[in-house]
Amino acid sequence: MTATQTEVPTPVRRQRPSPRPRSLLYRLDLHASPYLYIAPFFVLFATFGLFPLAYTAWVSLHDWALLKDEHPFIGLANYRELLADDYFWNALGNTISILILSTVPQLLLALGLAHLLNSRLRGQTFFRLGMLLPNVTSVVAVAVIFSQLFGRDFGLINWILGQLGVGRIDWQAGTATSHIAISVMIMWRWTGYNALIYLAAMQSVPRDLYESATIDGASSLRQLTQITIPMIRPTIIFTVLISTIYGLQIFAEPQLFGGGGPSGITGGTDRQFQTLALYLYEHGFRGGFEFGYASAVAWVMFVVIVIAAAVNFLLIRRIRSSS
């Protein structure tokens, strides 16, 4: 009886470790600290990330030239002007074309590479490092290097094509050829990175699924399409969304492919590879600082990005339900 009596209070006492009453300071620390720790992120992000993005919508409703003192409200006039501009539609078409040409082969290739890397290999680390090497190189460096490789007269790629009897291609001059060249730059920089992301996801797929599939005689390709892809679908959705968002803002590759000067900003002499980001830059920072108009461009880009992301998201979900 006495034994039980002494035993019962012990756990109760253990639950209240500090015998002294908790001070106000202690409770303040316990409840306020978390907010204090996440505050720097939210305050800085709201100030320099979200606020400018939202304020873009407001600026876009004004005739807002940087060098003028008055910024009269003009409603949707900037948008009307924008939608009537053939150069805008040209830039939108180029952007979507480059997005598809760079993203679709890139992600398929990355999936295949990740699948290969996921098999038992010697020199795993070496191969992974090699995959990531292009991603360490800056966008500017990539664009400069590939502009040389794709050069019309002295480029290595044209020399190889010449040796193969295909003939030289003026990569910059054509719409399709310039889009291919720019897409190659994007693919070169991002394929390995995405392969590593896929590999990370593939490694959390249970091994015994593959083992039983192998016993059932499923080929490697079948295992990729029937087991791996369904299992890592969230990661695939994530990479497609990120690639879409990134791809629609492509700037450095076309700008530097066009030589960095005026011809770079217009995306070639015939605007054959001017993207939306270049169009924005042209109006915002090279053509009299038309901030109202450039803001309208930015806001339209934002809408395009949201629509493209939503469409891609729905497309990929569709694939899942049909398989």
Binding site: L53, A54, T125, G151, I197, Q203, G260
Partner: protein
């Protein structure tokens, strides 16, 4: 026996494919060394040169004569280091709160973080530029540094890292010993966070070093340019001087390649850790 043979053949094909991919990964970088070490007349020859020449030193001298590349390197170093220190500190603080502290609306805040990773903030460039004019920061490094002081990816990354790296019992024990939260952070969490923080630091440094669009917009004079903007200036001459611009490219890339050579394993591990698991 047959199964063994098939496996052997597949794996040989696998190796061949991967080696081909490695070749394509490395070749453009190798080729930039080739071009950077030739003079321009050699580049016009048929067939084009595929081995390095002897003109590298001369080309490096020309780069430094054309743009203040040393200033640009220093600027990039200042910008990238400051951003890295800040992102790592704030991400670890927030990651600690998300991973180990209980507070109201925690999940909602975390959801906002993940969502903001997808917000194309680059599109806010016009108002951001107006802010910089108001603050009188245009053409100064502050304009590049301050907007990049925090990153949603960093918070997400450290939250993931710390939720595994720090046992809950350790924090409980520190509380029972009467530690205030900030002491728990510095004495318990920070030492355990260091490997993850190092990876995040490297990724952030790479990103900041390679950033181009915003620095191009907001930095105009040669004295304030970062390396990437200086490279762009090298490329924008009236005559396409490939050996000059590729020498600049090489100079800007070599520091990163050195870092990559030393710490590449950790960078690969970090990217795979930060990935959304399927």
């Amino acid at each position: 026996m047959r199964a063994f043979a098939t496996r052997l053949r597949t794996s040989r094909l696998t190796y061949l494919t991967l080696i081909a991919v490695l070749f394509f990964s490395a070749f453009p970088l190798y080729f930039s060394v080739v071009v950077a070490s030739q003079d321009n007349s050699a580049l016009g020859k048929v067939p084009p040169p595929v081995v390095p020449g002897a003109n590298l030193v001369e080309n490096v001298r020309r780069v430094f004569d054309t743009v203040p590349f040393d200033v640009a390197l220093l600027n990039s170093l200042i910008v990238s280091s400051t951003i890295t220190a800040s992102v790592v500190l704030f991400s670890t603080l927030a990651g600690f709160a998300f991973a180990k502290l209980r507070f109201r609306a925690r999940n909602a805040f975390l959801l906002i973080i993940v969502a903001t990773m997808m917000v194309p903030t680059q599109l806010g460039v016009i108002p951001l530029y107006l802010m910089m004019i108001r603050l009188e920061w245009t053409d100064t490094l502050a304009a590049v540094i301050v907007p990049a002081l925090v990153q949603a990816f960093g918070v997400f990354f450290m939250t993931q890292y710390l939720s595994e790296a720090v046992p809950a019992e350790l924090i409980e024990a520190a509380r029972i010993d009467g530690c205030a939260t900030h002491r728990i952070f510095w004495s318990v969490v920070w030492p355990l966070a260091r490997p993850g923080a190092a990876v995040l630091g490297m990724l952030t440094f790479l990103g900041a070093w390679n950033d181009y669009f915003w620095p191009l917009v907001v930095l105009s004079s040669p004295e304030s340019q970062t390396v990437q903007v200086a490279l762009s200036a090298l490329r924008s001459g009236y005559v396409q001087d490939y050996s000059l611009s590729l020498t600049g490219t090489l100079l800007a890339t070599v520091p990163l390649l050195v870092v990559f050579g030393l710490l590449g394993r950790q960078i690969v591990g970090g990217i795979m850790q930060g990935a959304l698991k399927g």
